[in-house]
Amino acid sequence: MSLRRFVLRRALSVVPVLLGVSVVTFGLFHLTPGDPVSRLVALNPDVSAAEEARLRERWGLSGPVWRQYLAWLSNVLVGDFGREFRTGRAVSAIVWRRLPETLVLGLFGWVFAIAIAVPAGIYAAVNKGNLGDVASRVLALSGVSIPNFWLGLLLILVFSLYLGVFPVLPPSRLPLYHPETLRYLLLPGVTIGTAAAASLMRVMRTSMAEELNEEYVTAARARGLPERTVVFKHVLRNSLVSVVTLAATLTAGIVAGSVVVESVFNWPGLGSEFVRAIDRREIDVVMAITLVTAVAVVLANFLADVLYAVFDPRIRYD
């Protein structure tokens, strides 16, 4: 199968998954007893039945569930996620404003994870069993086990409160491309990237160690190639394949992590908006963000599979 056909087939398989994602998102909030309108109405006993029906009509909550779903889906497909109950602001505008903040944070987390994990993984695999390897393995295990919100709180405690190196909060919102933003990005970025860095490092070390045992490595050494070439040209390239397969899982982890980490650092991204919307029962906002994260994860999965096929042509002939 050519690469192009593989990508096309894989892209087609994304469609039913996205459809299912929309069904689950909708079902989660509409199949439970008590829709948002009845909750709103419960707060005010003066609302008449006619007014309640009008409210339902307005928020697209009348009629059978499947018709509600189709109406919602057709709106979503053209980018209309509805409006906030309280303020009447368009949900899509909120999502668009918050999305870049989360993207920047997630990207920073990714870059941090790769910058730490790949060199550390190589080092640990090559120097298997020595002190540095043991230390990096202990660190990686701790990094996988540490709850990210606690790590964030500890970082604030140490770097902001005791050392005063980093500000707790931006004094005012700076544009994202401002160089000063980097300083505010550092602590939350490290917090969000730690878990990914740790699991990446563990996988990197295992797969490097496995590859180093392969026969082609012995062959390469026997041909007199310098160890440097063996490790960086042959082994690294092959072990990166297993890292790519992990990438999608890690992206999902970073997306989930952003919900918590943004709340810790009051980062104005999608994650903190999500928690705020749940608190205020803004169902349309919650649904929009749930959908956006799921679509992002599906796309990340798709991208990882394509990369995998590029790196390892055997995959295409399944």
């Binding site: 994602v21 701790s142 709850p147 709180l153 999500f274 928690v275 749930t290 994260t293």
Partner: protein, 387 residues
């Protein structure tokens, strides 16, 4: 070692001997019987298997594998230490305060000095104030509402730990059944069932849990539901893959050829082999569920805000932390509850790694160039380093 190899080198000698006294016999030289007996078998099969299976009527081979796994796990010192930590934390949280079921005291012990919800300056000692630093009387200090943190941290494990194990038990069993059905039937059934799994996988677990809690509200069983409703997908995918690959193996074919029924094949060959990766995943999963529960608590969406639950306790400290230094920084309110989560999850992950090393069939089998024999004889630490 074998006669073939020897014949090549010693053919001259052989020929001369055969001509004289040992005519008609194959002479084997260079064969050290002691060495061979010492070597561990390359696969899990042994001659006893047939006899065992005959006597107890069940899967003798699989039992043997679990017993070997257990032995290897026991030899893994760090995993055993982690097991002790987890057991101790679970026990302490259980014994921290008396447990009452419908008015009857089931568990009378009280390791924690104070009730976790008692506000100290109201009912115990008026001189205590919120955010008092750690002292001999209050080893972990006092929290923002004037409650004893030590007692709260001890009790706090009840929710997180029990939810962790309950959720993993539920999701792993459902995932096992789901994945086995999907892998066994194959075809359209498999296709549809796996698309469902794909959909569940598209949502990060915490986002789904938040969504469920957003509609159901907080509370113990709501949290269990939040993590169980979608947590099974990973197990289902794993088991399905295992079942598919096991069904292709020669021993399954061999069992079918000698006339074993489907049920027997599944029970004796497919299930035991699919089970060990499931156990590995489950042991690693407990920690992530515990973190997830604590995260929901931290976001203020888990248990009731006054509950002594590790994550919920951190939520209460967040505001004072963000507001910055006002006099002394109450680090203890952040460090101890979070530290409890961290230690528990770390221990759980060490156990998971230990289980993985103990049960990983590939490491002992012939698949890795016959190195299994050497490794199997080595101690647990050698294996642990290989991860």
């Amino acid at each position: 070692m074998t006669e073939d190899g020897e014949r090549g080198t010693d053919s001259e000698e052989l020929r001369t001997r055969r001509r004289t006294d040992e005519r008609g016999r194959i002479r084997v030289t260079g064969f050290d019987a002691d060495r061979v007996r010492d070597r561990d078998p390359l696969s899990a099969w042994s001659e006893r298997d047939g006899a065992d299976g005959g006597t107890d009527g069940t899967n003798g081979g699989a039992d043997d594998r679990w017993r070997r796994g257990l032995r290897r796990f026991r030899r893994n010192r760090s995993a055993m230490a982690a097991l002790a930590v987890v057991a101790a934390m679970a026990l302490v949280s259980l014994l921290a305060r008396p447990v009452e079921v419908a008015g009857v005291v089931v568990q009378p012990f009280a390791l924690a000095p104070y009730d976790p919800t008692t506000i100290l300056y109201l009912s115990v000692d008026p001189s205590v104030s919120p955010y008092d630093p750690p002292s001999p009387r209050f080893p972990m200090g006092v929290d923002g509402a004037g409650r004893d943190l030590f007692s709260r941290v001890l009790v706090g494990g009840r929710y997180s730990i029990s939810i962790g194990f309950v959720v993993v038990g539920l999701t792993a069993s459902f995932g096992l059944v789901y994945g086995a059905i999907s892998g066994y039937y194959g075809g359209v059934v498999d296709e549809v069932m796996m698309r469902v799994v794909d959909v569940v996988f598209a949502f990060p677990g915490l986002v789904l849990a938040l969504a469920v809690v957003a509609t159901l509200g907080g509370g113990y069983w709501q949290l269990v539901a939040a993590f169980s409703l979608f947590g099974w997908a990973g197990y289902a995918r794993l088991v399905r893959g295992e079942v598919l690959s096991i069904a292709e193996r020669e021993y399954v074919l061999a069992a079918k050829v000698i006339g074993a029924r489907d049920r027997t094949v599944i029970r004796r060959h497919v299930a035991p082999n699919a089970l060990s990766p499931l156990v590995v995943l489950a042991s690693l999963d407990v920690g992530s569920v515990v973190i997830g529960v604590a995260a929901l608590g931290f976001l203020g969406l888990g248990m009731d805000p006054s509950t002594a639950e590790w994550g919920t306790m951190l939520d209460a400290t967040r505001e004072t932390l963000i507001q910055g230094p006002g006099g002394e920084i109450p680090w203890w309110a952040t460090v101890y509850p979070g530290g409890a989560i961290f230690v528990f999850v770390l221990a759980m992950n060490v156990i998971g790694d230990g289980v993985n090393d103990a049960l990983d069939a590939r490491e002992t089998g012939v698949g890795r160039g016959g190195r299994g024999g050497r490794e199997d004889r080595g101690d647990g630490r050698e294996r642990g380093d290989d991860r």
